[in-house]
Symmetry: D2
């Protein structure tokens, strides 16, 4: 379901992540996905500060889709996998999944736009990522 080259990011569920229904509050999965995308970029030498400073670009979400299979619970050890499904001139589409053991709990698709930090106009993707396609 994930390509062999998919990146892995590990985390655990703390009290802060859960809600009174006893499972992870749905909005908090977006935080897990975003942490994993941050680490994905960093493994390519691109952190938020560097992108802003040397490229004058920020990544901003254009749209996203989540599909909930099963909830995660307090103390669960989770794994987020991330891969590029598609890359345009100024956009990246990430396919991401949250796993517990060998089961996918949540699937997400995220379209991220690369924009100029001041004007918010679309900007070409940095070279390190274009290579990835």
């Amino acid at each position: 379901m994930t390509s062999p080259s998919a990146d892995h990011f590990n985390l655990r569920v703390y009290y802060e992540d859960t809600d009174a229904s006893g499972v992870v509050y749905h909005a908090n999965y977006l935080k897990y996905f975003e942490r994993a995308r941050t680490e994905w970029l960093e493994r390519r030498g691109l952190d938020h500060r560097a992108l802003a400073a040397s490229h004058e670009i920020v990544f901003t979400l254009a749209d996203l889709r989540l599909s909930f299979k099963r909830p995660a619970r307090l103390d669960d050890r989770l794994r987020v996998t991330s891969r590029i499904a598609e890359a345009g001139r100024a956009r990246l589409m990430f396919d991401q999944s949250i796993w517990c053991n060998d089961e996918v709990l949540i699937q997400g698709e995220f379209t991220v736009a690369c924009v100029n930090i001041a004007t918010f106009k679309p900007q070409r993707l940095p070279f390190a990522i274009r290579e990835e396609r």
Copy 2:
């Protein structure tokens, strides 16, 4: 874009909602949408506690889709509109939008499943909502 009968929920943006890019952190829009669905249910006499106690049901998200048009900022006064796009036997689809003044900032579609509180098996929607269709 919203039907005249759409429900309205008002809120403002506090520091807690924003991030270092100066705008509302994307996951927090899901909180706004959920507050509005909670109020929507309540106006139909269905609050979470009553649903759990008298119907033994909880609502759980099956999937969602967000489309980001423009970001909201600190101190913005926002309005969330909510309407039922579709209702099945055990599912509701909400169309929701977050507005600032006359502009839609974020659009969301949420499929909510009605399940038994213990077994998590699909459960028929409560009468008050079936009426709504």
Copy 3:
């Protein structure tokens, strides 16, 4: 326990605020207190944007103390009271409480420092607040 002139701010507890122990997650009370301080300032004509723009100041927390009496629960309607316990040249101390019905759930003391937005050097309190003492 609160002076007659104490400001009141009302809110309700949503799923986002709770955790798997079934009550409000402790860190989220700080959000409630901060919303109430924001509204307190605004009723004195001082919102964050205006303070930053016309006075070049921001308020920053120097220290805080919380005392937990009883937890708040999902759907609770809460009231936050705020009053100035002490005001110095560049500091304000707020006494705040979170109430449910006639019971105090959480008490908080917050020392807020007024600093220059660029240098973070202490700055004299704006006139509208000095009057308050």
Copy 4:
């Protein structure tokens, strides 16, 4: 400033943690401290689920105090140190600090009460922790 036996917990600052003033939102430091206390307990064989299941106890915060020296920023790598300052029959007091490099950013004191999961009556600390004193 921390004893040689103090426990260390490492984390980094993500967008989710920051606010529009460009630094970590103050309530989020409580999450960092709580993650570190969770790991501290676990290294003593006590996780939340085990405590609830075999001892019928939960830990609940009685009070806390935070002192803010300097803010943490996006992408900062932080270290949380935790040590027991005092232990009573049914209470623990943690001294915790958040560090960036060799500098303390935030200091916290947390009084944690050990209570029965159903009655919320004070309960004797589990043996593994009493040993720690």
